[in-house]
Symmetry: C2
Subunit: 221 residues, 2 copies
Amino acid sequence: MPTTRRSFRPGDRIQVAHSALNWLHIVNLGSCKTATLSADGNEQVVGLHFKGDWIGFDGIATGFCISDAYAMDTGELWSLRYDLLLEAAARQPALMQGVFAVMSHQLTQDRHRTRSRSLMPADARVADFVRSWADSLAERNLRCDEITLRMSRAEIGSYLGLTLETVSRALTRLARCGLIGLDETRRRNITIPSAKALVDFVRQPGGYQQASDTDACRSVA
Amino acid sequence: MPTTRRSFRPGDRIQVAHSALNWLHIVNLGSCKTATLSADGNEQVVGLHFKGDWIGFDGIATGFCISDAYAMDTGELWSLRYDLLLEAAARQPALMQGVFAVMSHQLTQDRHRTRSRSLMPADARVADFVRSWADSLAERNLRCDEITLRMSRAEIGSYLGLTLETVSRALTRLARCGLIGLDETRRRNITIPSAKALVDFVRQPGGYQQASDTDACRSVA
DNA sequence: CGGCTGGTTGAGGCATCTCAAACGCAGTGG
DNA sequence: CCACTGCGTTTGAGATGCCTCAACCAGCCG
């Protein structure tokens, strides 16, 4: 498969919404986000993409890209022409199956995220977000006890369906409980003392009933 | 493509979660839901499927079905063996592209639903749900000004990320405004006097700020 | 220095959740 | 025929978690 490789830097636009879908992209290093603009001009983050993730599937149905994609990080991108991918997949069943599998994986991931949103309170959602970010790195054999979120609080909020203030408060609460460490000055740098503790916190007894602001620590102590 | 056709009745289980993915299904008549069981035993509705929709994509990645699928209605199902579909798709590029397109469509649909959830208040979410149900029928050239939801309030709530009480209240409010008609006794039968009015209500100025309980009518009057 | 962006924190309001009660309808068994 | 039960729905009252609005702080850059 002929693929063009290029490196990208934070803020680079990988894909432009409403343009014709000619390319699919695979993140080979770094991280990207996909976002759409709502009617009132606000951007909503709809997906995060790490090494191995594909970008562009959402445009296949209509032939036009649905979302904008931006680099959040320096990294490298592999791009394939969609028409050539179709040809190649027709010749190589294994490739075709692979694409099916990747699309299916995205579908289930999205769905899982949706589900957590409905039934987890804000703190747990944010905790789960941090956990999933770390997991994404761990799956790819990268360091995951010290991560730096490459998104603003507002972007995280948009991704999780929360306001930026709520995200900020949730992070400080988690930090107060020792579930995460927050760098004093570089507030996007997060340390994770115990991944297990985070997981336990996310699926805390009762699902929806959540420890209150002050109680949040008790469940860990 | 060899397909087996069978008819189903309300409550029939089409697909069993955690079983191996051998079949993909296409709804040819009627409607189905897919649902997962959360840790505490509650079921969450993750998808609705009408004529032409596929069921089973979420299991491709792992080889195991993620969700249970149930018939909500009497109808007809076409089922394909996944391995045979792969073979056929390898021979017929058009089929392969078709499957890509359908999966992509599901992905964008799911995403759109997720987005509405984050930024629409409960009433608008329910209104949009009714609208989308009617649209699903209209797209398929079925009667859509009189629909009967084949779900309980609890199921709708689970699908929309709301409690059943909130769904109930939202429906009565919409009915009070004349945006929908609610049958006196068969409470799942809904009439839609004006589809346009519903759409207008859904994307009401301001996005998140929503007319209050009593004001909800004013925006229509 | 002064604006600007991103983050934190506080106070208050409100939409939604929680808990609870009551109703209609359908099915069942006496 | 009539309790009686169970389920789905409606409605109310109260609690609360998140949003809104606003102020303030820390870096960063011209």
